[in-house]
Symmetry: C2
Subunit: 247 residues, 2 copies
């Protein structure tokens, strides 16, 4: 990945078609970042992606105070998709929730679903802020696709309407320790979802419900108590290494 | 783990023997935290550990403004050790370095070694601050042992003096993707070390050196560029799940 980034230091997500000879306007915020903050100007090279047309090396052809125009030079990577993995997580304190979002992008989750559980500490998650974090993390980590952010929903309702054929890997603090890889090693690759609870864990009623569902696979993440964001990163890592795009 | 924490909400590391009938003074900072911040008083119950005598339920027998006395009631868990796993990491920005330290404790590393590499962004790491983070993280995650924090050392020197018999799992951004679990699946459990680079990765000279060493196993952590703390958590997770105390 290092070699690709060396073509251009700055990598931007744009919501515009990319292709040979394509030129496109910069958003005001990106123009400010590129010309005001990063001190780039005409002739500067950046990498662009839009989630559909792969990654392109582009050149600044016009640089204004809060506007600019880019021209695509050549495709640096073809478009690829993400593994069909969702992350269901209970929002925690702001900085740690931001981290869950950032890490989910780095680790290739395709959809982020904030869930309200019995012990959820935070009642809401601002979807627009989460989407801005997703975009920033994707620009940083070289992802070609932005994961989707869903509106916050109660866990009970998500489980009632759960789509057929999608399995849940449940980071279960009460699971007996041992062998987090064993249940994944024999499983089909996707679709899957990972479920991470809030700092207080899941209530007894939630644990009973989860244990009764045939599509839920509990997994122990070791003998220590992991914070929510650590559990999210660990579970995403195990899934990607056994069933996802790290294989 | 949840059941143990419900005996007492507060868990403290103390540098004092713990045993049946043992009483011990509280440090000034801990007395302030317990009585001033948490509003606890005489009769309050806390969990104690010292890295040697397991975990003990204790009761506050004297509560003063900045002092106090605890008495051990009963052992809640016997002492266990950590897997013999070191984490070598290049300090990055402060908040992210703090996170590496916190997560290394949660994920059961036994020794943290800050390393200076060719592209290390930060020249030093305050060992006393790192040790305070280690203590706080261990109190929070239920660990029974504090990992040791080493003084910062140049990577080249560490590699020259590398102890015989200890292997290194190297998070290598330039490794071809695929199969991070394969090299671990066939390996002996420990001693091991994980090596994580700074945000800029390793220099060509460092990569050549690492590739030439027979005790170094490069591993790819997927197709995206992981931040240093994400790579540390992911590598610790993979090691613990295949060779460590999550098995």
């Amino acid at each position: 990945m290092v070699c690709l980034m060396s073509l251009a230091k700055i990598r931007l997500y744009v919501d515009h078609p990319l292709g040979p000879g394509q030129s496109l306007p910069l958003e005001e915020g990106q123009a400010h970042y590129l010309f005001g903050v990063m001190r780039e100007g005409q002739g500067a090279r950046v990498l662009l992606f839009n989630g559909r047309d792969g990654e392109w090396l582009a050149e600044v052809t016009e640089a204004g105070k809060r506007k600019g125009v880019l021209a695509c030079l050549e495709q640096t990577r073809p478009q690829t998709g993400l593994a069909d993995l969702w992350l269901l997580f209970a929002p925690v304190k702001k900085a740690r929730t931001d981290m869950i979002v950032e890490k989910a992008v780095e680790l290739g989750a395709a959809r982020l679903l904030p869930v309200a559980t019995d012990y959820t500490n935070s009642e809401r998650l601002r979807r627009d802020k989460a989407e801005a974090h997703v975009r920033e993390a994707a620009e940083q980590c070289g992802a070609l696709t932005l994961p989707e952010v869903a509106d916050m929903a109660p866990l009970a309702r998500l489980l009632s309407d759960w789509p057929a054929g999608r399995r849940i890997l449940w980071a279960d603090e009460s699971a007996p320790p041992g062998g987090p890889l064993a249940p994944l090693g024999k499983a089909a690759p996707d679709p899957w979802a990972i479920l991470i609870g809030p700092e207080g864990g899941f209530s007894q009623a939630e644990r009973d419900r989860l244990r009764s569902l045939p599509f839920v696979t509990p997994v122990s993440l070791g003998p220590r108590i992991l914070r929510a964001e650590t559990a999210a990163i660990a579970a995403l890592t195990l899934w990607q290494a056994t069933l996802g795009d790290w294989r």
